[in-house]
Subunit: 144 residues, 2 copies
């Protein structure tokens, strides 16, 4: 299964709801245990980014806050809140579809994921994907 | 009303539940619109820090993700996840009871709140309070 494509499918759900289109899935073994898309505007809650929601669903699914051994696939580089949550939840791997030039917290503006002072290390892999960058670029082009 | 004392009361609820004792309240005008304490272990969810829960409750209460004009009083300096959430939710003011030397993201290790590159500015006031530092120090002394 193409897990980044599954994350893109989630981002498309956000788009249909007129949300900033970001989606993600959390994988354990070879199974998707949680999938989520950005719901900030619809839920009227700034914490409802795709990553936070997916972490909440995954923790519920495995009945444990520690997501050690799990991987997240996300279409857009996480913001500081979400990067912090990825670290807090002990996710082992993070696959990112495209960078976030305005508030990316996995290297673009700041790096909260691989940070010696914070003692945080999540294995990050960039899976640059045209669909991940175009979905977000097109969204903001239409908004302006 | 002493809002930091109200946050300390919340931290005491965490302590009774054998959670890292952190509490916070969110104030609008002169009224507490949300109060929360750390529930990470009990809820088995790494996103259930006091600050994230309080932001979720406050947004529900005022039916808006924008907490502009609201203040948060928190007993311990927020971690990166929570500092990021404070910024995302547009809280106007943040009152902190004591610093967090291991992962404080409001100046101790990193500063996500007043960060030019992230374009983030929340007005931060340190209200150093012995009760805020002793509750957390005593908790970790007993754990070791």
């Amino acid at each position: 299964m193409n897990f980044m494509q599954e994350a893109i499918n989630e981002a498309n759900f956000s788009l249909k709801l007129n949300e900033v289109p970001v989606g993600c899935v959390i994988v354990k073994g070879n199974e998707i245990i949680a999938r989520a898309h950005n719901l900030k505007e619809n839920n009227k809650d700034a914490t409802c980014h795709a990553e936070i929601l997916a972490i909440r669903y995954a923790s519920k699914k495995i009945d444990n806050w520690r997501l050690t051994g799990c991987s997240m696939y996300v279409t857009l580089e996480p913001c500081p809140m979400c990067a912090g949550a990825i670290v807090q939840s002990r996710l082992s791997k993070l696959y990112i579809g495209t960078f976030n030039p305005s508030c990316g917290a996995c290297g673009s503006i700041i790096n909260l994921i691989e940070n010696e002072r914070l003692n945080n290390f999540v294995n990050v892999k960039w899976l640059y994907n045209d669909k991940c960058s175009s979905i977000i670029e097109n969204f903001f082009k239409l908004k302006r």
